[in-house]
Amino acid sequence: MKTTEHHAVIIAENLKKIYETKVPIGLFRRKKKRVIALKGVSFSVNEGEIFGLLGPNGAGKTTLIKILTTLLLPDAGRAIVNGFDVVKQPEEVRKSVGVMLMGERALYWKLTGRENLEFFGSLYKVPKDILKKRINEIVEFLGIQEFIDRLVETYSSGQKVLLAFAKALINDASIIFLDEPTVALDPRRAIEVRQKIKKLKEEGKTIFLTTHIMQEADELCDRVAIIDEGRIVAIGTPDELKRTIKGKSAVEVDIVCSNPKTIVEKIQQIDGVHKIAWDVTSSEKGEIVRIRVICDNPREILPPMMEILLNNGVKIHYIKPEEPTLEDVFLYYTGKLLA
């Protein structure tokens, strides 16, 4: 009998977090500043699923992972991981989870990769013989034989990320937290890592990952929560999320202009435009402003849009109506483009 179907292994209820920092003003004076990182976040993750937290920089993704893995105490709300309260039973939570945080500083540079894994494995009290075998399995699983016995200080950034990933598997936990696991990897390694994450799911593990890469969330995750400015603005399977903006279309425009802000404001006034966002990228042709618009019907908005662009002396590189993607879901709910 399968009772695991909808068994929630991570539950967050109304989590709030405010950081208090001191900002230096002048030489010795400091001013208190409050950063509201989470404004009441609730969701649950079912056993065996890959759950993705999608959001732009500063949205609160890492803050949320740190609370769920006991590194940070919430200011309000409650979180249960593997049946244990993150505030009241931190040790039980730590035993239940494997964690990979962002950044390459998380390893001992003066030890080899293997020595790092042995060290952390021992802190989890993995018995010696099992630990040795497990390290070999993980090394093979991730394909990191080539550098595992070198000092970490000789690793490339991507290799450090892979070792950090290996470290998250060392206690063979059933729940794995990954904070932007593919961010420092080249495209080929990123694809490989995504495949490994899927494999882990096939082994029955629950995976909670953060990302700001749309395709990653779309391809990898069973369910996605979109987080922005400390709030979850939408949650569901990638298809469900796309369906919420069904009937809407996206129009993408690449232009060269000096006053994108005023142009965007004007386009926003057009009837039938739901959301608009823009972003500047530089290419060999110079600074290109990319504008993305969510609308009911591209046929209706294209003529007035062209008029605004032409009247403002804008050089148009590219303009095209497109099928909405998960990226547009994000734009629809937050009014922002992802990085």
């Binding site: 977090k17 950081y19 208090e20 803050t63 740190k66 893995t69 006991t70 590194l71 940070l72 105490l73 040790e91 730590r94 035993k95 964690v99 945080l101 950044g103 500083r105 998380a106 390893l107 001992y108 540079w109 003066k110 030890l111 020595e115 042995e118 060290f119 952390f120 021992s122 802190l123 989890y124 009290k125 010696k128 000092l151 470290k167 206690n171």
Partner: protein, 278 residues
Amino acid sequence: MKWNPEPILAIFKMRLKVYSRYPGWIILDIIAPIIFSVIPFLFAVGIAGSLERAAEIFGNYAGTREFLFYIAIGSAVWGFSTGITWDFGMWLYEELETGTLEQILLTPVKVYELLLGAILYTAFISTINFFLSITIIAILFNCLHYVLSINFVLALLVVVLGIIPLMGLALFFGALVLKLKEPWAFFNFLTAFMVFICGVFYPITILPPVARAIAVVIPITIAIADARAIIFHLNFIFNPKIDLILLIVYAFLWPLLGMHMYKRVEKELRQRGEITVF
């Protein structure tokens, strides 16, 4: 459940491996204690005019003319004890700076395991330094007979007994370092203060009463004075029995105080999200 010392040993081994990969540190660690114990002799001889004269003056207030070895014992016990007291905090700060503290705190490792693992390493290095400097000084200044006596072994026992309260002090300082995040300023200040007050180079009887009262709260003072008392047949701080009771009381008091302080600071850091901020 069976006790599993694996995390403690893992921290010990990890620190030893990291240490072994910085050859410069090893050389420094061998040379430093020797220099540290030779300097006061040169100083004393310089002030008194000759070795003979220095010994005479010293004998009048310390009770033994063997001031060379007297100071060697003091600085060796001092080096050993302060190593144990400071090193935990310095290590925690280092881990905070490199970002690995966060990774350690993600595991179910317990505070006492962290402390014992870190201190096992310190004790190992400090013991080597201790015997190295004592032996070299003893050979240089003809005091080897003191080292080979049964009293020397007894004195060592006092020093070892002093380790337990020192571990409490270590936790206490470790917590303060994590909270204040300025380990060096703090370290320099307290080192100077404690060299002055613990009687490293002289008996604490020459200190004013207030300073003496503070001194006996620090277990290092008792370890230094009693190790000397046993080796040179001098006076104990109070008497052997009271000194022993004090050390035993401190062996409970300081660890409790340290644990309380550490837990509080750790919680504060988790609250403020400062486990990676330094």
